[in-house]
């Protein structure tokens, strides 16, 4: 006599459920990935000329000023490249107009800028930067996050002595113990002058990536701890 088995205790039912759930979740992930990849494509010179904001902008941003400002429309801070302008829907966006010298030039071609950040990214990987620092918040927690390092107030204070913060950053990278700012020093990793410039270019480029407001309030507040100083 066949016993009636509840579907809830049927291995076949659960096997099928598991297969379907996994399949649907995977398909959704793949579809979302197509959309994300399209939105995360690196920008071009054309985008900048047409003032089109890209989540990951063209490396040409190294020719422009970069700020990190609160956008009332999106409700968090966004990178502002080359000065700000009003967005049609409200809030602010990048104007891509205000230039600034980067290692003495503000006329890098797209090819030159791409070559610089290519070298910079390779160096960042070759020196294992992410095993001490975080980049976009990912990595190790032994040294400061580098997502917005280009905008860090520390470099503004060092800039005058070096004729520009990019020179200060490049000098630091080539011999970090000499310019140590804390007892937890960065070691000398044999970074050449060419590599140092490329890494600084990468840091400037990375600070222009739209990170949905991370880190919050960057460089804006001086907390109660500092108030005593």
């Amino acid at each position: 006599m066949a016993q009636k088995v509840s579907v809830w205790t049927s291995n076949r039912f659960w096997r099928r459920s598991a297969t379907w759930i996994t399949g649907v979740a995977s398909v959704l992930l793949i579809l979302l990935t197509f959309d994300s990849m399209a939105q995360m494509k690196m920008g071009t010179a054309e985008d900048i000329a047409k003032k089109i904001d890209k989540r990951i902008p063209s490396p040409l941003v190294i020719n422009y000023t970069i700020e990190y400002k609160l956008d009332p429309y999106r409700g968090h801070e966004i990178p502002i490249i080359g000065g700000e302008m009003q967005r049609k829907e409200g809030g602010i966006k990048s104007a891509y107009e205000k230039k600034e010298k980067f290692f003495g030039r503000d006329d890098y071609t797209e090819e030159e800028a791409r070559a610089l950040i290519h070298k910079g990214k390779l160096t960042i990987q070759a020196k294992n930067c992410m095993d001490c620092h975080t980049l976009l918040g990912n990595g190790a927690y032994y040294a400061p996050d580098l997502t917005k390092a280009w905008l860090d107030p520390t470099w503004e204070t060092l800039a005058p002595a070096f004729n520009g913060k990019e020179y200060a950053m490049a000098a630091f990278l080539q011999d970090p113990p000499k310019m140590a700012m804390h007892e937890r020093k960065m070691p000398n990793l044999g970074i050449t002058e060419e590599e140092a410039k490329a890494v600084v270019a990468y840091l400037k480029f990375m600070s222009a990536i739209d990170t949905n407001g991370f880190p919050r309030n960057f460089g804006k507040i001086k907390g109660a701890v500092d108030a005593r100083k």
């Binding site: 291995n11 020196k127 001490c132 918040g137 804390h182 070691p187 970074i191």
Partner: protein
């Protein structure tokens, strides 16, 4: 199991386990160096800098877990399928190739450390991408070895008995291996780089590895408690549904701040918040089966393996589930991302979810090799499980204190600048947390000593119970 006579595949499993436990020791050693450097930054400065110690710490972890995972499959495969593993000679050769490659990679990490900013460094020294730093040549080698492993599994199951546990493993292992390919390319776009990097890291540890654990955990339940296979396999399918159902789209919680579209906030928050649910299921299942078998008067056939499995289920739920949930919502993660929070979560999660079950599997192999009907807990085994578990739990609590401080001081009060970072790092609470982390780490290392001793000697040092001596005398 068949007394002292093992399948060749199980002999190979023991080789994998041996390398795994040695690399576990290396992981702890480099972790110790890194923990000391947090307190005394000059320790081994310019010799074995933090970046190198930390890279070896996490790479040794990943590699030893993979060794143990492969080992556990070679152990249970012939047992489940009922036949010797197909292509076992090839499997043995693959083991030696993999081990030689790992040795070369480690020596290069230790003595070359970094390279110039060129493609050749990515190919031969380091890829510089957290957890998967292995240079490209090694990636290709790993893929070749894994293909041999997959051939062994598939060919064996095709010819032998096809159980539910093996079906899940077959599907899971191919996904696990395939995902590694997502980490094998270079791009200048760091956002895209991290997007695919998470495919490997997240879809391993929060999806395919979890399903692997559920499958191997099911096997261990059958071995230690004689649990009903039909019930175990039903649970396993429910676990697969819940783990993949939450874990695959839970990937979104890594896509909040890396240049990704905003919709990942909602998707990541919802699905990753569900990730703890299957982990509750795991420990409920284990305790339920334990109680049921005890009620029938059945004894546990391998006490250390069962004890480690129990630690796994609770550690997985606490470390991966609770500690993960604490900072998974974007509103909170905005402030905790990139602080000691993930470090606190990571330590208990890796330990709870993966380390404990791999040790459990090793005890199953110890019992099988010795041919013992029952394996009891020795004193050394008790010290090992207690010191390591309490040590890692308290280490996590210490790191959590440091994490709270860092989030509050650096992120909340100072707006995440360089100055704010160091203000947090020199804060008294932070330093105390980091100090206790070192102390608890030492406890784990002592526990590791007991563990190695016990794995080697426990069959010979089985405690004799009162009833048994009386029976022997009579």
């Amino acid at each position: 199991m068949q007394g002292n006579k093992l399948y060749q595949s199980q002999e190979l499993a023991i080789k994998y386990f041996t390398v795994a436990i040695i690399l576990f020791g290396a992981q702890l050693l480099f972790g110790l160096v890194a923990a000391i450097q947090y307190l005394y930054p000059d320790f081994l400065f310019n010799t074995l800098d933090f970046s190198i110690a930390r890279m070896l710490h996490i790479n040794a972890l990943v590699v030893w877990l993979l060794y143990a995972m492969i080992g556990a499959v070679y152990w249970l495969l012939p047992d489940e399928a009922g036949i010797e593993v197909v292509g076992i000679k090839l499997a043995n050769i693959a083991f030696y190739i993999l081990t030689a490659a790992v040795a070369v990679v480690v020596l290069v990490y230790l003595f070359v450390q970094v390279g110039p900013g060129k493609e050749s460094t990515i190919w031969f020294i380091t890829e510089g991408r957290e957890y998967i730093e292995a240079p490209r040549w090694a990636d290709i080698g790993i893929v070749a070895v894994v293909l041999v492993f997959l051939y062994n599994v598939y060919a064996t199951v095709m010819r032998g008995r096809q159980t539910g546990i093996l079906t899940v493993l077959m599907a899971d292992l191919i996904a696990l291996a395939g995902l590694y390919l997502a980490g094998m390319f270079y791009t200048d776009n760091i956002a895209v780089d991290q997007y695919w990097w998470w495919w490997v890291v997240h879809l391993w540890v929060e999806a395919t590895w979890e399903v692997y654990v559920a499958a191997v955990g099911g096997y261990i339940l059958i071995k230690t408690l004689n649990a009903n296979r039909k019930v175990v396999e039903m649970w396993l399918w429910i676990e697969v549904a819940m783990m993949f159902g939450s874990g695959i789209l839970g990937l979104g919680h890594h896509y909040f701040w890396i240049g990704t579209p905003e919709y990942w906030w909602e998707i990541g928050a919802l699905f990753s918040a569900l990730e703890p649910v299957p982990l509750i299921g795991l420990f409920v299942h284990v305790l339920y089966d334990w109680g049921k078998e005890r009620g029938k008067g059945n004894e546990i056939k391998n006490v250390p393996a069962f004890a480690w499995l129990t630690v796994e289920t609770f550690g997985n739920f606490l470390g991966a589930g609770v500690w993960g949930f604490m900072h998974t919502l974007p509103q909170i993660n905005l402030y905790t991302h990139g602080t000691q929070w993930p470090a606190a979560h990571g330590h208990l999660a890796f330990y709870g979810a993966y380390v404990a079950i791999m040790i459990s599997a090793m005890y199953i192999a110890v019992q099988g090799k010795a041919g013992l009907e029952r394996l009891k807990m020795t004193k050394a085994g008790w010290w090992a499980i207690s010191l390591i578990s309490v040590g890692v739990l308290l280490m996590t609590v210490s790191l959590t204190v440091a994490a709270y401080t860092q989030t509050m001081v650096e992120r909340g009060m100072h707006g995440a600048t360089w100055e704010g970072y160091f203000a947090a790092q020199s804060n008294m609470w932070f330093l105390q947390g980091i100090g206790w982390r070192l102390v608890t780490g030492l406890a784990v290392i002592v526990g590791y000593g007991f563990l190695v001793y016990d794995l080697i000697t426990c069959p010979k040092h089985q405690p004799v119970e009162e009833g048994e001596t009386a029976a022997a005398a009579a």
